[in-house]
Symmetry: C2
Subunit: 360 residues, 2 copies
C-alpha cells in the first residue's frame, strides 16, 4: 500500500513562555482541522523526547488525544532527538500495513524555558553509556572529539566548519518560522564562545520550543483530503551506536536510497561536525562537503542551527518542511524543482538514524 503525507503544519520555533507543551501541540494540530473533520485519524503518535523532565508530565499522548477530543489509540514515542523520525516510522508502518488509514503524527517539545546549564543536563541523558552522564560528560564533549578527529583525518582548518552555520543562518533569514532569522558573518561564528574546544557556540543547535503536525495517510484518504499529497517512498531505521569517527547509523539508513537522487535534504545538524559527517554519508566528497553548500539544497529551513532545534519534535518538522517544499508552499527559501527530498532524523550524536524519502 502506498503511503502519503497529506497535510503538514508547524509553529515557528520560538520561546513560548506562556504556553505549555500540550497548548503547542494542540495549536499545531488545529491548522489541520479541516482535514481532520473530513477524516478522523485512526491513531495519534506523539513524538516527544524530554517531557517527563521538562514538563513533569507522563502519558502526554493520551492527554493530547483527550485535549483534541479524539478517542483513538494514542502513543508517545520517545527516542530522544530521534523521536520525530521514530514516530514517522511508526505511523508509516501502521498505514503501510492497512491497520490505519490515517495517522496523526505530532511532534512537540519545550526546551525554551530553561537555561543551557539545565538543558545540557537533560540532553546528556541521551549519552550512550549511562556512566558518561553520571560522570558529568555532556554530548558537546563527544562532538568536540569528533571534530578534532575529523580535522586531523582530512587536514582541515577550524575555519572549515564555519561554512555550516554561515549557510544555515542565510537560509533561516528567509524562513519566517525560524528561531534565528538573521545572517551571521564567518568572523562572528569563529569568535563565538568556546563550548568544548574546538566546538563553539555557533557550531551547536539552537534549542527552543516547537510543535509540528503531519498527516500520514493511505492513498484513498490522501486523494480525498489533500490536493497535493506527497508520497513517502520509504522509511529506514538504523541503530548503530555512537562512533566518534563515522556516522554508521546514517550510512546504514541511507543505503537503500543510493538510486533515489534527492533534489533536497533536511538533515539533523546537531553540530557543524555532524552536518559535515552526514553530508559525507550522503555522497559528497569526504572532508570537502561543507565547501559545496552552494551547490547543495540542504536544510533550506535553516536547520537545527538556525531554524532551531525543538528536541524530539525535530523529525516531524523536517518531514513537514519536506512536504511544504514539494507542494510549493514553504514560506522560506524554495528548492528548485523539488521532486524528491530526503529527511535524516537522528539523535544527538547519531547513535540512531532514520531516513525518510519523500517524492512528488
Amino acid at each position: 500500500m502506498e503511503v502519503f503525507v497529506s497535510g503538514a503544519s508547524l509553529l515557528k520555533v520560538d520561546k513560548y513562555y506562556e504556553n505549555g507543551l500540550l497548548d503547542l501541540a494542540v495549536a499545531s494540530v488545529s491548522q489541520l482541522e479541516a482535514q481532520l473533520s473530513e477524516q478522523k485519524p485512526d491513531v495519534i503518535i506523539l513524538a516527544n523526547g524530554y517531557g517527563e523532565v521538562t514538563e513533569e508530565q507522563t502519558q502526554l499522548a493520551g492527554k493530547l488525544s483527550n485535549a483534541l477530543g479524539l478517542k483513538v489509540p494514542a502513543i508517545r514515542v520517545e527516542n530522544a532527538d530521534a523521536s520525530g523520525g521514530s514516530a514517522v516510522f511508526s505511523a508509516y508502518s501502521l498505514v503501510k500495513s492497512g491497520i490505519a488509514k490515517s495517522a496523526l503524527v505530532v511532534g512537540a517539545e519545550k526546551l525554551g524555558d530553561f537555561p543551557s546549564s539545565h538543558l545540557n543536563d537533560v540532553i546528556a541523558q541521551n549519552l550512550d553509556e549511562e556512566f558518561s552522564y553520571r560522570a558529568g560528560v555532556v554530548p558537546q564533549a563527544y562532538a568536540a572529539i569528533q571534530m578534532k578527529l575529523y580535522m586531523k583525518k582530512y587536514n582541515l582548518p577550524r575555519e572549515y566548519f564555519a561554512e555550516w552555520p554561515y549557510q544555515m543562518h542565510k537560509n533561516a533569514a528567509e524562513n519566517p518560522n525560524a528561531l534565528l532569522k538573521f545572517p551571521v558573518e564567518r568572523d562572528t561564528i569563529l569568535s563565538s564562545q568556546v563550548v568544548s574546544d574546538p566546538l563553539r557556540l555557533f557550531d551547536t543547535s539552537a534549542r527552543a520550543d516547537g510543535a509540528s503536525a503531519i498527516l500520514i495517510t493511505n492513498e484513498e484518504v490522501a486523494r480525498k483530503t489533500c490536493e497535493t499529497p506527497v508520497k513517502i517512498e520509504g522509511v529506514h531505521f538504523s541503530n548503530a551506536g555512537v562512533n566518534l569517527r563515522e556516522l554508521l547509523s546514517v550510512r546504514e539508513a541511507v543505503l537503500p536510497w543510493r538510486e533515489f537522487r534527492p533534489d533536497f535534504y533536511e538533515i539533523h545538524d546537531s553540530y557543524s561536525i555532524t552536518a559535515a559527517m552526514i553530508l559525507d554519508e550522503l555522497g559528497q566528497e569526504r572532508g570537502k562537503s561543507l565547501y559545496s553548500l552552494d551547490q547543495l539544497q540542504v536544510n533550506f529551513s535553516g536547520g537545527l542551527k538556525a531554524r532551531g532545534y525543538p528536541g524530539g519534535a525535530t523529525g516531524v518538522y523536517q518531514v513537514a518542511e519536506g512536504f511544504l517544499q514539494i507542494t510549493g508552499t514553504f514560506k522560506g527559501k524554495r528548492v528548485k524543482d523539488p521532486r524528491r527530498g530526503l529527511v535524516i532524523s537522528m539523535d544527538d550524536l547519531g547513535s540512531t538514524a532514520i531516513s525518510i524519502a519523500l517524492s512528488r
Copy 2:
C-alpha cells in the same frame, strides 16, 4: 496474518538495588536467547513509563538494542502505566501487517530505589489535567473519591474492598516471582495505614523493579521457534479520559470481546476500587464482583497488589503471565483448562485501556 506470543520471560518483581534498568531488561531478554539466535527480531519495542525521571536516561530503546547487539529499529513507547499494553499494540500491529516477522517487546521499570513520597510525585505526572499535579494532587486522592462514590452508589461497606487484597495475597503466596509472597488477613488489610480515606495501604499496588520480555511473531516464526505458541486474537485500545464513576476506557476496550468468554484475566488493579470497577466492566454483577472472586480466575499472578507493580512494564508481565498460564508453565497457581485469557493493561486511573486477548 495471525499473530502469536512465541516466548515469554519475566524477572521476579523485586528491589534490585544493585542493577540498573538496562541490566534488568537485558537479563529478561537473555532467557529468550535460544529463540533469538534462531530468529533475530525485526524490531524492539521497549515499554517504560518513568525512566527519564527515575533513571535519568532517555533513548533507552536504542541503548537496549546496542546492549543486546541487535542493530534493529528500537522504539521506546511511553504511555505511563499503560506503556506495556501500548508496546504490545505496536508490536502486534507490526507483525499483523507483515512489516515485522518477529518483534521483541521488553517491559522494564525501576521504582524500587525510591521512597513513596518521591514515587507519588513521579506517578502523579500521569494525572489527566496537568494542573492537578502542579497543585500537589496525587492519583490516590482520585482513587479515594472513586471508592467513596462507588460505596455510595452500591451501598457497600468499607469491608467490601478488603476482598481484593485478601485474594491477591493468597494468589501471590503461590507465585515465586511475586514481590509480596505472603497471605494477609482481612483485619490486617482493614487496619492498615490510611493513604487517602477510605483508601488504605493494602488497597494500593506494590511498586518495585521488574523486567519482562515477550516475543510477538507471525505464524511461521512461531512454529519454527516455539513448541507452544499462543495466539493473540486481537488488541483493542481506548482513550476515554479519567472518569470518577465509570471506567469508560475499559468498557470500550473490552466491547469487541463480548463473545470471547475468557477462562482467566490479568487486570491492572492499581487500587482495590480499580479492580472492582474493571470486573464490573468484564460482565460481573455491578457492585458485587469482589464477592465472587472464588469463582473467578483473575490475577493468579497476585496482581499489582501482590505480584507487584513494575510501572510501565506491567502490561508486558501480564501478557507473559497469560502465555505461561496457557502453555502450562506458570510457576504459581494454575488456571484450570486455560484456553483463553484476557489482559487489561491500563494507566493508573484508567484514562487509557488496552485489551489483549490470548488463546490456545
